[in-house]
Symmetry: D2
Subunit: 357 residues, 4 copies
């Protein structure tokens, strides 16, 4: 049986590169030979045991590669094509998918709705920090890479670009809106770019790391606030002349950022939450106007599926945005444990790493 | 100077009927002679000092009456016409109004956004538990009562019908949705009616008072749950075969109802909050799927303005709904203190009272 | 090879009952044994050669039946279950499906968008006026019938209920809207019901056949206009006090109904078109306010897929609506030619026929 | 009585500069002293008698100026402030305004809906090609110009920027959409900018004038097609690999552009019409998929009101877009007849003229 190298979750604080069988595929699946992938903040949560996955699971959910083999039922694609798949791989045929909520796809309940059910790679099935990955429901999930785009140019599409943009989309950013983005990691930076892409006027980024704040300006932030240099809420209210923001995007997953995001909203505004939280959240009575403020609080899991990926690559191909600068470090798959070491500790100004098998 | 009788907030736990001058009106205002009004749960919060208003203010925000006098600038109406005005009286010309958020109208800030700013009657200006009331921005707020509708038939339009329906509207109830409504007071009952009006299939009402549960069934609830008879979340999950509800409407304003509403949502569902809260809210981590459930939490202040009122009366006139049964007791304005006594203690199965000056 | 009876398009003006092989199924398909089906107005267009299909094709797109056999890849269903499938059978995995436009699904073009591509039964593949039908993409399209609903109660779900309701949904009917429905055939009647279900106040039906006008009133029309008794536009403007309607639903497919629907719209209103047209349409300059009226004209193909079907059956199960009265005549499959004869000539007050193999 | 200079419609083909009294203002109005204005394509329609206005009316609907005087009821502004007002001046208090359709504001009918009713300047009341203009409903319509923006930088906000952007907004352009814009006059160019601002990927501009095509590329077009160099529809289908566009924006007002816009739509796509038509339109049966294509056709009148203006200026202030290059020629008000001569004949590559009193 042919084997491959794969980054495997062994136990808390141990993800190691090991040999595994190359995946078998079913009739609706594809086997993709990976050419580039990356490590996500969520993988660090997995590494630390904060998000539970099965021991022995291959980690990773951001695949760029080449179709190695197609299941008997898969039409419209051919072997050898360059493709990506989203971090979230909806089936297309669940009730959740069919009512427009494909990230919450999943077979777990009678009617096909299951929270986070659409996230399969490196969560409920083997992921893509490996030489090969099985892509389920291939017809819904394989998306051809335009010839003129490199692997690194599309590497952000499967997760952080889709997630970050969705922060602006679910916040329903409109032309001329004022938007604040709390935390400028890769997701927050993509949220800045997404807010810009949707027509926001004033875009306020909040962080304290200089390199991130600089990139935020490059991607569209008109103002950047260092939260260590004074009260964030007061600073934003001053920038907005006391009006508050139309949309506040939370991109970290803490009480502090969530609460600040709520406090800077204008009445009728929207808090668009992207962060993965690790404890209960509190909504202060005054910040919520006792329930009478016409507020909206929305959370979003990364949208996936081939049409989403096609659209994101279309934006890149049109030259509207370039996220390649987020790739600050490159590793061979053989050195992925070193990559985890660097990325997990956020050393050396790392934003995203490119891993090449 | 001509005087009138009016229910006035004197101090905590004291609202009394007293004599006051009949209001002067400005060029954009109307003076309305009240023929029927009512007491709202919010007025009880005011009575108890839980919601602060100025001493001496006339209470009440649900006016039905006759135009007594029009300001010099008011066109399109004439004296003697039967009218209602919404509890919320948007100006029409604030930035909030002009971007579709008219309940959050208000002059308080530079750009015209202020939480709850659209609620003026019995909050920031004299209200309508009186013989006369000044209606500000009359052209935006007076709405003619169709001849074939009685005062009591339209008495719910200014607040509870508009608020309750907005719970279903802001929850974006769709044809075939499953909806749960937590607490079946007047607002919750109108939310049931609103969910039905927007095409929900299964509608689950939650309360423990028999009369309310009975009225809920009359207004469209397909299931009614007594929260004292077992775990509410489990009961709703059983009714929905483990799927959860598409929209959960909170109509009380407590942690318990808010949290249960969140827990019964399907992934991607919407918690539509109508209650007035009196303390911070907690969002449990699991109920929020750690931020990855594509949830929506929206709060709403009663929509007002003459177009809203016209539409609500249109629904009543078309025979789609009859809320008159909610009026369980009738009082003269002279006896309003007794009405507060009854309503404040929820005696004698009271739902809504009609007050006639 | 086992055979079955099926209604086959032979040539213009000839649909005959004949013997055909029972369909083979692929791994993603289901074979359904039909228990009830019906004839649609579109089938009459096919019969008359106005809508082209392949000779030898089995006609019919409204299946109610029992799962006879499941493809190897189909999960979540079992043989013997009672099911319906929509007239439109989206794959779930095309780009069209994945961006929320599943009726326009189809393999015909590079990116998976093709007009009417989602309509397969009795159009591009064999339909269901037969003893058995192959349901493609079964996981996306089979929908379980609740035990307490009869075949006839759900017989309208696959097409006319879904189509008629979509007229109100795509018109975005809101609480208190005024709606006009032009032509009260089965689709128009379902549009009336849909407008009512979405909260319209005034609903004006337009036709000239008494039985249809009577059923329209039963399903929610507050006014019914006989277009032979005076100018339709003038009558509707009179009913609406010169204001016009918020939403006009066209349910026939002629210049006359289309144009009248446009002329009765208030500025900013929506013409929701359901009819199948057979010639070019003209938009009169004045009716279109020279392009400055903020009008919306939307057309819709019947929404399908199992989630849509589940929701429609949910509405029926909740007792909100009963369309069974639309079934005015019943035939055995053996007598389907007689059924075509009756339905095609609209004899004997026929609305819908039930065909039982 | 103080007089001023104003460009007046005398009769077909004659707009002349004449003396008129400086306007009186009512309590809700403002008098604005103009500092810059411009001529719109619509004014040319008026000049040619194609759009009827009263003889003696002052033309012009794009005001930039300084508050000279405020009506007694106007709050929140002070004399001497630099302001713009939109071409459309909604009252804020009509039913149309209160249901979100403020461009169709107007007192003309019982319920306050009237096509084009919100367009008053240079249409139903005196316009702003003059030294002074009366702004009705000043509180809803005056919008302060940020200090750092020049007159010419905001000169496009009142009409062409608002109109052009609305083409993209009403077309609901989404991230990654493919958009075609038919005709690249000032409105079409702003539609290109609007499509870009809302996140379109591929943007295809259609025209034949080189300078316009060049500016279109600067404002965001990824492709430009010369309609004289081959079949437009075929060219666009080739660029989109046979898929068609998600949104087609019509910015001229002819059968040819309208029909081409419809023909390049993907199934489910939207034709967003901005042009002012001068004859009936024809919808070809095949282009409309016989009514089964899930198409949307929307028309839009320029959105106005102070919040809209604030947002457009916010976009300019944030540096997202610079429309000043559209101003190709400058004239004194005294020379406005020469400006009409130049602009009306589209001489000398004129795009927009700036007129300074």
């Amino acid at each position: 049986m042919a084997t491959m190298k794969a980054a495997i979750f062994v136990e808390k604080n141990r993800i190691v590169l090991d040999e595994k069988p190359i995946p078998d595929i079913g009739p609706a699946d594809a086997l993709v030979r990976l050419t580039t992938t990356t490590i996500c903040g969520t993988d660090i949560h997995i590494l630390r045991g904060e998000y539970p996955v099965a021991k022995g699971l291959t980690i990773g959910h951001e695949p760029v590669g080449i179709i190695e083999k197609l299941g008997a039922q898969v039409q419209g694609f051919s072997e050898g094509q360059r493709v990506i798949a989203g971090a979230i791989t909806p089936s297309g045929h669940s009730n959740a998918c069919l009512c427009g909520c494909s990230s919450q796809d999943g077979p777990g309940t009678l009617h096909g709705f299951k929270a986070i059910g659409g996230w399969k790679f490196g969560n409920t099935i083997d992921g893509c920090q490996a030489e090969y990955v099985r892509v389920p429901d291939a017809m819904a999930n394989l998306s051809l890479i335009p010839d003129n785009l490199s692997d690194e140019q599309v590497l952000m599409c499967p997760d952080i670009m889709s997630t970050g943009f969705s922060g602006a989309e679910r916040g329903d950013v409109k032309i001329g809106d004022t938007v604040a983005v709390f935390a400028l990691g890769p997701i927050g930076l993509c949220a800045v770019a997404g807010a810009r892409l949707k027509g926001a006027g004033t875009i306020i980024g909040v962080d304290t790391v200089n390199t991130r704040m600089t990139v935020a300006r490059q991607l569209g932030a008109t103002h950047v606030i260092d939260f260590t240099q004074g009260n964030v809420v007061e600073q934003i209210m001053a920038i907005t002349y006391g009006r508050g923001v139309d949309v506040a995007i939370e991109a970290l997953g803490t009480q502090s950022t969530f609460e600040s995001a709520l406090r800077v909203l204008r009445p009728g505004g929207t808090l668009s939450s992207l962060g993965v939280y690790s404890s209960d959240l509190r909504i202060p009575l005054d910040a919520f106007a006792a329930g009478l403020g016409d507020y909206n609080i929305v959370s979003t899991l990364c949208p996936g599926g081939k049409e989403r990926m096609r659209r994101l690559m279309e934006v890149i191909a049109s030259g509207r945005i370039d996220l390649a600068p987020l790739v600050t470090h490159r590793f061979k798959l053989d050195d992925i444990e070193a990559a985890y070491e660097l990325f997990g500790h956020q050393r050396d100004g790392v934003m995203k790493v490119a891993i090449t098998p």
